[in-house]
Amino acid sequence: MANETMTETLRKAKAKRFDIAHFLIYVILIFGAIIAAVPFLWMVSASLMTLSEATGRAILPKVPQWANYIDAWKEANFSEYFVNSVIIAAITIAGQMVFSTLAAYAFAQMKFPGRDFLFTLILSTLMLPEAVTWVPNFITVTWLGRIGPIPWVNNWPALTVPFMASAFNIFLLRQFFMQIPRDLWDSAQIDGAGHLRYLVQIVLPISKAALMTVILFTFIGSWNSLAWPMLVTNSPEWRPISVGLSSFFDEAGAQVHLQMAGAVITIAPILLLYFTAQKQFTEGIATSGLKG
């Protein structure tokens, strides 16, 4: 009897201590979440302010200035940059879907001499800092534009072709393709399918999750890149949105509210993607382990 009450009180005390600990954990986690989110909230708020509010001490706009978005859109050519970035991302993704998928399939499912050597060679490009590639790739791209029928600099090829296959995506897809049971290929072979048909009709449909991850990462990489597009575009004609926003920050020096409207416009598509395909993001990153 006495024993029982003792364990009871012990359990209660333990539960209580646990509650306080839990409460503290929540406080810290919520504080962290606020730190992570506040800059974004402030961005949205400032993008709706008047100039005097944005440079003053206001936290929220008195009257939301929706016209800021129209002003920023017009003043910084955002409509052009936006369309450019969408086109660039679309071409890059299309290239990745074909080239990286083919290469990943070959590495995962086929036997050929030099396979491991080639795979290591491709993976070694992940080590190379981007800065090393700027000068040589710029020279290459200029040269290709001069010898070919269309210019590469200031045009879509320079912005897309170098990114149409990447070690990261090949690695990610290969990991996924290798999990596909060998029996599937054997039975496809009995049905008379070759590698290409097997890849298109069987492998790709069951690899939708991996392909989605590739699409997402490629889109974000393309949408966010700054250095290379700055080097290979010198007019607004093909300038992507990151470069446009960066130069808008410099040009519209004091107009904080418009700058923040521009930032919202640039971030919006990515946030939209992130919230709709959140699972793909975190799982893709946690399983592959690396990005960028």
């Binding site: 929540y26 986690l29 979440a33 992570a36 800059p39 974004f40 400032a46 440079t55 990286s100 083919l102 290469a103 070959a106 590495f107 086929m110 036997k111 001499p113 491709i122 490009t125 080590m127 190379l128 800092p129 981007e130 800065a131 090393v132 590639t133 700027w134 000068v135 710029f138 020279i139 290459t140 200029t142 001069r146 029928p149 072709v161 170098p162 149409m164 090949i170 070759g194 590698h195 290409l196 966010n224 700054l226 250095a227 949105i241 990151s242 926003l245 960066s246 920050f249 700058q259 923040m260 930032a263 640039t266 971030i267 946030l271 992130y274 993001f281 975190t282 990153i285 946690a286 690396l290």
Partner: protein, 560 residues
């Protein structure tokens, strides 16, 4: 009799069918790989060789004269000779190490190793000769672009004509034929050895191993030759101008300094294991060697750093500060958050969603927000908060003053150890803010892989929370910690986008990391050759850091 004959022929045709199928599969695989390999080869692998080639020239938009190591010497002064000298030594060391490992293994299994040295050598020479051919052909090919600029109609025929002209250069033709000839001889000798002496699969392995060994040796010898001629040229030039030059003595003393540091460190580690007076004596000796080595380096390195490119040295210093002040905080914070998130709490996925937000968004826009929040104006949002709390507004992104100077205004700290400038501190904050969510997600995955039973067993044995963390979580998480440290350090060394957006003229270059300096030299000053040499140096630094990280990991990381 007839039956067995037909059986044999059937078997033979089956074998032939298998072989044909194998070859067909290989061909299909290469076809599948062709586009990806082409793109990655041209824009991902070739740039390394090409950047090195460009860095050896005076190259401003168009290729100028051969410059040897002049670009490197301009960047880091005589340290360039030191670096190239030691890379040479390293390459030769790697080759020798590989030979020793191979012969040891061959002795154990009784393989015929030495017979493969000759074909390996000839093939390696052939490959090196092919590289030589490539870089003799390259200038002519590059010139086609310039030639075509003057042509009104850029038809494929004109291009082909120019290409043919470049191709038919006698030097190009000669080196091409020579390389093919040497390669052919190498392959034939390899075939003969395979056919008549050693037809095992191991033999093919020895052949390719010897090829890589000799390629390492050839590369080492070429680099050594380049360094040697450059040093001789520098001495000759100094003699002409009547100046004193001390490259060799500098090379010896700096090497001795580093060697002493390394030796003393090893002795120190050994001595830790012994508890006697003798161990104490050893430790004392190690400390003395350490001080001596450090003193030599301090006496020898600063003059070199001062005579190198100031912008570049500052870029490296900024990068080092940036990395050193970012990585520990970022990893500590994310490990803390991950261990909290790993508890039994509600809304886990919500927190993960929010923490991940800064990592996923557009860095130009996110850095733009920080640019406004931390702007140097007295009425910027962060300054408003500070003044509301009763503090003095700071100049944040416009402030080049070092952190230690700010914290101890009366201590009179010299500039070179002033710590990151306040402007760089904002960039460090940005970096931590961005990557904590990413690191947390990876840590969470790592924590999920630790078996629960270990904690239960430990708590039965009376281990408290901290002891559990120290003795279970940290060791079992060490592969993740190692991986994230590597990614974070390399990430800070490669950082460009947010640094570029947060750059302000008033910060006087105290936020210009190595990548930004390279970008400016390339795009603003159009010094292609010089920018390439800086990029190669940066690559070298990143590689050294990776090696150090690997070395530490091999001692400390616990892989189950």
């Amino acid at each position: 009799m007839a039956l067995s004959e037909s059986a044999i022929s059937a078997q033979r045709s089956l074998l032939r069918g298998q072989r044909i199928r194998k070859i067909r599969e290989s061909l299909t695989a290469y076809l599948f790989l062709l586009p990806a390999i082409t793109i990655i080869g041209v824009f991902g692998l070739f740039p390394l060789a090409f950047a090195f080639y460009v860095s050896l020239h005076h190259w401003r938009i168009v290729r100028g004269k051969y410059a040897g190591l002049a670009n490197y010497v301009k960047a880091i002064d005589n340290l360039a000779y030191f670096a190239f000298f030691w890379v040479t030594i390293l390459l030769i060391y790697l080759a020798v190490k590989k030979i020793i490992a191979m012969s040891k293994e061959a002795r154990e299994v009784g393989g015929k190793l030495s017979i493969w040295a000759l074909p390996g050598l000839i093939t390696a020479v052939g490959l090196a000769w092919f590289v030589k051919f490539f870089f003799t052909f390259l200038p002519g090919v590059l010139e086609i672009g310039m030639k075509l600029r003057g042509v009104a109609e850029r038809t494929p025929e004109v291009f082909r004509k120019f290409l043919k002209e470049a191709w038919l250069e006698p030097a190009v033709q000669a080196s091409f034929r020579q390389s093919l000839l040497i390669l052919a001889i190498g392959l034939i000798t390899a075939y003969l050895v395979h056919r008549f002496v050693d037809d095992t699969n191991r033999g093919i392995g020895y052949y390719s191993a010897f090829i890589s060994v000799f390629i390492l040796l050839i590369a080492g010898l070429m680099l050594g030759w380049l360094t040697w001629t450059e040093i001789q040229a520098a001495y000759a030039k100094a003699m002409e101008e009547g100046k004193e030059l001390a490259i060799w003595s500098q090379l010896v003393t700096i090497s001795a300094g580093f060697l002493l540091l390394y030796l003393s460190w090893i002795v120190w580690q050994r001595a830790q294991k012994t508890e006697s007076n003798f161990g104490f004596a050893i430790r004392f000796g190690a400390a003395a060697a350490l001080i001596l080595g450090g003193w030599i380096l301090i006496a020898e390195l600063p003059p070199i750093i001062i005579s190198g490119d100031k912008d570049w040295w500052r870029g490296l210093q900024v990068t080092a500060y940036y990395s050193f002040f970012t990585v520990p905080f970022q990893l500590g914070l994310s490990m803390f958050l991950a261990s909290l998130l790993f508890q039994n709490i509600k809304g886990k996925s919500f927190f993960r969603l929010i923490y991940f937000l800064p990592y996923i968004t557009n860095p130009v826009a996110a850095a733009g927000i920080f640019r406004v929040l931390f702007s140097g104006k007295p009425n910027s949002p962060v300054n408003n908060i500070i003044t509301a709390l009763g503090g003095q507004p700071l100049k944040w992104l416009d402030d080049p003053t070092g952190l230690f100077q700010l914290l101890f205004p009366h201590a009179n700290i010299p500039d070179w150890i002033a710590g990151p400038s306040l402007a760089l501190v904002v960039i460090i904050l940005y970096n931590i803010w961005t990557y904590v969510g990413y690191d947390t997600v990876i840590f969470l995955a790592g924590l999920g892989g630790i078996p629960k039973e270990l904690y239960e067993a430990a708590s039965i044995d009376g281990a408290d929370r901290f002891a559990q963390f120290r003795h279970i979580t940290v060791p079992l998480l060490s592969p993740t910690i190692y991986f994230l440290t590597l990614i974070a350090v390399i990430g800070t060394f490669k950082a460009f986008t947010h640094v570029w957006v947060l750059r302000s003229a008033a910060a006087l270059g105290t936020t210009d990391t190595a990548s930004v300096v390279i970008f400016l030299e390339f795009s603003r000053n159009t010094r292609y050759g010089y920018a390439s040499s800086l990029a190669i140096i940066l690559l070298g630094v990143v590689l050294i850091l990776t090696l150090i990280n690997n070395y530490v990991a091999s001692k400390k990381v616990f892989y189950g």
